[in-house]
């Protein structure tokens, strides 16, 4: 058949193409000895880039700072840090390839990522199997056997309790809450915790809803919630920008009560989108205004340099700056760049590390069977006539009882 004549020679050629490209591509992967590579596996393109890019920016800022300060000295030998970014596009297959490339081709020993809890379920075993230290940004709690897996940022189990602790301090008379969250793995986890916390605090949950992460028109869902007359609305993990819309539309529909952003807010965006009037009284845990609300000199300094370098402040960016500081601390303590050694150092009981929030240590064993979460003290803030003010700081100790309640322990 004429149909098949061209087919097979052609098949031959085109199936050989990948083989050849592959051999060429694998041919070039040199690793300079005195460089410690740090992998950044984040969604830096596509719809989730707004989440991944801050990680990349903060990490590179931290790495440049460390190198500028002469790198890390281990056993008399000086190492420089080098960042390698691979895109995950928030897609499990692409994330898997990204991690494999980082681990096997770039031979990195430390990875910042992934952002998504769902994807972590796939890549985390890979990091364990290859003894690669992983600093994970998702909100999924650690498991006792996740030896190489650390969380430099808050997880859902912490943020919700911290947030509601703050709320109870600010609004003791609160009786009913409406819980709104992002319809996505992290959102589900966060919502479960929030439910437990509210029950523990004796709050009545009048509404318990999920919305698409990219939903922009909240009018229908608000129409469902508002008639139930909640004393305040918790916005769970709805992203900055989107929760600004939620607030704006909520005000338009006549809701006067306070809003709560348990996973942090971005005041700049908030005021830009919702406006000062609508944003009045927004309570948030964690902040994006690292300069204005700096709790430590380092925080202010880094925040300023981040702003001048990238022309913007991103929510949850300096937490990723911390990740690099933790790695540095681990390497110095272990006096080795070998992850297997570094992880031992990081896991030594009572090990403290510097962070933009001051010294922190790994906590959480009593709840999740392993100390994997950095005990960053979280500032909780509120917006008053167009300005975000810090009302206080929630420390790990403050959170503990509520987490206990949340986890029903």
């Amino acid at each position: 058949m004429a149909f098949t004549k061209k087919l097979l020679p052609l098949l031959l050629v085109l199936l050989l193409v990948p083989a050849l490209t592959v051999t060429i591509a694998t041919g070039c992967a040199p690793a300079a000895p005195e460089v410690v590579k740090i992998g950044i596996a984040q969604p830096v393109s596509g719809g989730w880039a707004a989440w991944g890019v801050p990680v990349d920016r903060a990490a590179r800022l931290a790495i440049d700072d460390i190198n500028a300060a002469g790198g890390i000295t281990v056993g008399g030998k000086t190492y420089l840090l080098e960042a390698v970014t691979e895109d995950t596009e928030a897609d499990s297959a692409i994330a898997m390839t990204a991690f494999n490339k980082l681990i096997y081709d770039h031979k990195v020993g430390y990875i910042l990522g992934p952002m998504s809890s769902a994807i972590n379920k796939v890549v985390q075993p890979l990091c364990e199997a290859n003894e690669v230290i992983q600093l994970f940004q998702g909100s999924f709690p650690p498991k006792p056997d996740d030896y190489y897996n650390f969380r430099g940022t808050m997880i859902g189990e912490q943020m919700a309790p911290a947030a509601y602790a703050a709320v109870m301090k600010l609004y003791p008379e609160t009786k009913t809450v409406a819980l709104l969250n992002r319809d996505e793995e992290g959102g589900w986890t966060n919502q479960d915790v929030a439910r437990n916390v509210c029950n523990a605090l004796g709050l009545e949950i009048v509404a318990d809803e999920f919305v698409d992460p990219h939903e922009e028109d909240y009018a229908p869902i608000l129409t469902k919630i508002l008639p139930l007359e909640p004393d305040f609305i918790g916005m769970g993990m709805i992203a900055p920008g989107y929760h600004a819309l939620l607030i704006k539309q909520g005000r338009e529909m006549g809701y006067e009560g306070p809003f709560l952003a348990p996973t942090g807010s971005d005041t700049a965006i908030m005021l830009d989108i919702a406006g000062a009037e609508a944003a009045e009284g927004l309570t948030a845990v964690g902040t994006a205004d690292y300069i204005g609300l700096a709790t430590t000199p380092l925080m202010k300094d880094v925040g300023e340099r981040y702003l001048e370098r990238y022309g913007t402040q991103d929510a949850w960016s300096l937490e990723y700056y911390n990740d690099i500081l933790y790695i540095k601390a681990g390497i110095e303590a272990a006096n080795s760049v070998d992850p297997t050694e570094v992880v031992k150092a990081l896991r030594t009981p009572g090990f403290t590390m510097p962070s933009v929030y001051g010294d922190v240590s790994w906590v959480g064993e009593e709840f999740w069977g392993i100390n994997s979460i950095a005990s960053c003290p979280l500032p909780y803030t509120q917006i008053h006539n167009g300005k975000e003010v810090v009302l206080g700081v929630v420390t790990w100790e403050d959170m503990k009882p509520l987490i206990e309640a949340a986890l029903g322990k």
Partner: protein
């Protein structure tokens, strides 16, 4: 067998042998993974082309691929079946579901079919999102069991773990070659001829006594079965299924791979998948530009190669011959 046939079979043998030898000279697990995923995508794109042979474009194809994954994952997780049993059952189940989905769609043709299939596929996909039990909701299914190790007396056991990239490579390669073979034979068989006739003119086809509806359905169900095969392999390889990954995103990519490769030719979708797959990986240093490059490849192909990338050789061979001739003259 004439000379051409010999060349053909020699070529085919060479291809297959090369594919089996690749792990010998590519040590990077990363590239193993890339190629393995590419084989899965080839199954998807080729079975998509199988639908196109009757002249319809289905957007339920990728959701059905996901259905295959979900089916075998659930069979393995909830009923504790072995992968080797779950796979065929999942393929069967998806074939039945595809029948239910295409049954209403087949009342329509062309663009209407395109969107009707999208609608029903989307309803199915949203079921996974909506019902946390058993589908796991938006988070999807995770920790899907990996295939059981293969014990062949006298040979080392083939393990399937997160680091056993080579055994996965071979597993999926074998399944891909198998499904390509079957689809190729189908394409050349009487079924393929009938499909061609239906594509040309449904009316005339029915007036030479072809039961158009029945044959279209047969072809769609077969295609969906192969999609399910790919989906099941993917599920047990990734050990994770997320509904959003079977949204129009992948749906469009599969369509793009097939059309840009060239649906008129059996090897077209294979070309498309490989070209785009490699582009994706080679462009990793510039993630922001990936869509741009995709767009350019796509536009250039559609503009200059209406028959798809597959027709590139035909286009350049004459030109190359001319050049050769000129060289000879000197």
């Amino acid at each position: 067998m004439n000379r051409n046939d010999w060349i053909k079979w020699a070529g085919l043998a060479a291809v297959v042998i090369t594919l089996f030898l690749i792990p010998a000279f590519i040590k990077s697990p990363y590239w193993m993974l890339v190629l393995t995923l590419m084989w899965v995508h080839i199954i998807a794109a080729e079975s998509f082309r199988h639908i196109v042979t009757v002249g319809e474009y289905s957007f339920a194809h990728v959701p059905l691929m996901g259905m295959g994954g979900y089916a075998s994952a659930l069979l393995a997780m909830k009923l504790g079946l072995s992968f080797w049993l779950a796979l065929p059952l999942a393929v069967l189940a998806t074939a039945i579901i595809s029948f239910l989905i295409y049954y209403p769609c087949l009342r329509t043709t062309g663009t209407f079919f395109f969107f009707a299939s999208f609608a029903f596929g989307e309803v199915m996909r949203l079921c996974w999102v909506r019902f946390r039990y058993p589908f796991g909701g938006v988070g999807g299914l995770s920790h899907i069991p990996r295939p059981e190790a293969i014990h062949i007396p006298g040979l080392p056991t083939v393990e399937f773990t997160i680091v056993s990239h080579t055994s996965y490579y071979y597993l999926i390669l074998v399944f891909m070659l198998f499904s390509l073979l079957i689809m190729y034979l189908l394409d050349r068989s009487r079924l393929g001829a009938i499909a061609a006739a239906i594509k040309e003119s449904k009316v005339l086809a029915s007036f030479v006594g072809i039961r158009v509806w029945r044959y279209e359905m047969i072809i769609f169900v077969i295609a969906s079965a192969f999609a399910a095969l790919g989906g099941s392999l993917y599920a047990h390889y990734m050990t994770l299924l997320v509904p959003v990954e079977f949204y129009w995103g992948l749906g469009i990519y599969v369509c793009v791979w097939a059309v840009v490769g060239g649906t008129g030719h059996f090897a077209g979708p294979i070309v498309g998948t490989i070209v785009f797959g490699l582009a994706r990986e080679l462009l990793r240093p510039f993630p922001q530009l990936v869509p741009l490059i995709y767009g350019l490849i796509l536009a250039a192909t559609l503009a200059f190669l209406p028959q798809g990338l597959i027709s590139l050789p035909e286009k350049i061979l004459p030109w190359a011959k001319k050049v050769l001739a000129r060289v000879k003259e000197r």
